[in-house]
């Protein structure tokens, strides 16, 4: 069973507020999933190399050249709060 401390920590990492009810639900859900995914322990994977990418080619990299125009106005169009064409957020220090 997952402890209260672990759930608090997970909430912190996930950047989520969890009510007492949420915490109980999360404890229940994560514990269930952990019990289930623990079946992977049956597998002997001692000498297995972890596989991140299945397609055996390298990532494609391109030169870092700007190809688009300055579209600041478009970029801030979706922002919940904008001041002087910049994203506005609450002050982080006085």
């Amino acid at each position: 069973m997952i402890s209260n401390e672990t759930i608090e920590y997970v909430g912190l990492l996930a950047e989520l507020y969890l009510s007492d009810e949420d915490k109980e639900q999360a404890k229940h859900d994560i514990s269930n999933m952990i019990n289930y995914i623990d079946m992977l322990k049956e597998l002997d994977s001692t000498d297995v190399v972890p596989m991140v990418q299945t397609i055996s080619i390298n990532n494609f990299f391109r030169d870092d050249i700007v190809t688009n125009e300055n579209n600041t106005e478009d970029t801030v169009k979706n922002a919940p709060d904008v001041r002087e064409n910049k994203f506005a957020v609450p002050a982080t220090f006085d």
Binding site: D29, L40, K41, Q53, F60, P90
Partner: protein, 494 residues
Amino acid sequence: MHNITNYSITELNKKIRNHEISVEELVKETYYFARKQNSKFNCFVSFIDEDLVLLRAKKVQKQIDNGELTSPIAGIPIAIKDNICVKDSLTTCSSKILYNFKPTYNATVIEALENAGAIIFGKTNMDEFAMGSTTETSFFGVTKNPRNSQHVPGGSSGGSAAAVASKACVCALGSDTGGSIRQPASYCGVVGIKPTYGTVSRYGLIAYASSLDQIGPIASNVTDCTVLLDAISAFDNKDSTSIKREDYNFTSALKKDVKGLKIGIPKDYFEDGIDDSVKEAIYDAANVFKENGAIVEEFDLSLVKYAIPAYYIIASAEASSNLARFDGVEYGYRTKEYTSLHDMYKKSRSEGFGAEVKRRIMLGSFVLSSGYYDAYYLKALKTKALIKQAFDEAFKKYDVIISPVAPTTAPKLGESLSDPLKMYLSDIYTISLNLCGLPGISIPCAVDNQGLPIGLQIIANQFNEKDIIRTAYTFEQIRGDFEKISSEENTISN
């Protein structure tokens, strides 16, 4: 009534070129049927402004008439899953946190479709951030299965599959991270393709699990799906995992011929939890191939049950990282009251994400946290390597593997979300393809005793889309019209 959206892409293309119908008329008709079916099944999250789209239709008509546009999809209206960015149009991922988001750029697939003359007209419903197998986790309400509205359409591309199945439109794009194109296609009785990882650009697809996500087509038949696949497949320097392939001409594989084709059936896919009707349908399909000259054999794939735990660890880990960007600063939902910047992030996220998304972000944060990383995340990557080896072995012997798409037909609405683990288990046959980067197609092969469609999955090795297309096309030619197979009481009302 035989409405215009009942025709295939190929037929409509011919009608447009013969001036039997104009692109404008086709677009108008599509809006009419899409709205009508949407009121019954809730397939769409939003429609793109009809007046603007009609202006584009006129322009496309001119370009077709003067020979500038020669693609078979020129003038064809296409619905787009709501996690694919369409410039200046709502793109919400069916989430409250993106309820008002209008991208400032097009996804590469949208550029490709528009360059070919296709008409983007609507955005389809989905599970929130593609996390779910039923389209019930959408912030904008559930989509209903057009074959039986008491049942789910599958997910996460449930809106796209239901739109095509209800003839709201001819074709749609979906995305597939663990089966999200193939499973709803199966539940709704339409065709869906998940391409080899890296074949279709992910640029502008709002990421769920980047190492597993692929965009793919959904349509009523194999030919239409393949025509769409041709149009969206290309190398893209905006996607660092995009692959330069030698040949994108998938339509050349549309041939009725399986003579000598070696087909494997994984015996261990048929052990637990599979409906008898599904099992029978797949073995019946195997017989069809045998009768037409294919060599069909059963084999042990092994490691089948380990795919789901490995998938949920990897997908959740990537999701927790990908979804960290949603914080109420640059776009989307921001909470009304907050005391500090950090409080604003946390409140916006807590109020903006739904239960299933939070569940996966938390699981992902957990498996990546220090002390658990090796035991879970690293172990999952090793399991993925072992599963890939098992498929590599299988493809030494077989050209394609056939299997069910899902262990059952579409469950009833409201039955799945109460037990997430049970819902996850329904992905058992589809997720290993994402883990291994393999291409797969879902094609309707039968109906169960309730008249609900059963899908056949055809799997090939990486880059061998042509094998699955040829196999599926051959099956479809022999099967005949699926709508006729679907029972009468189950006919979708127009």
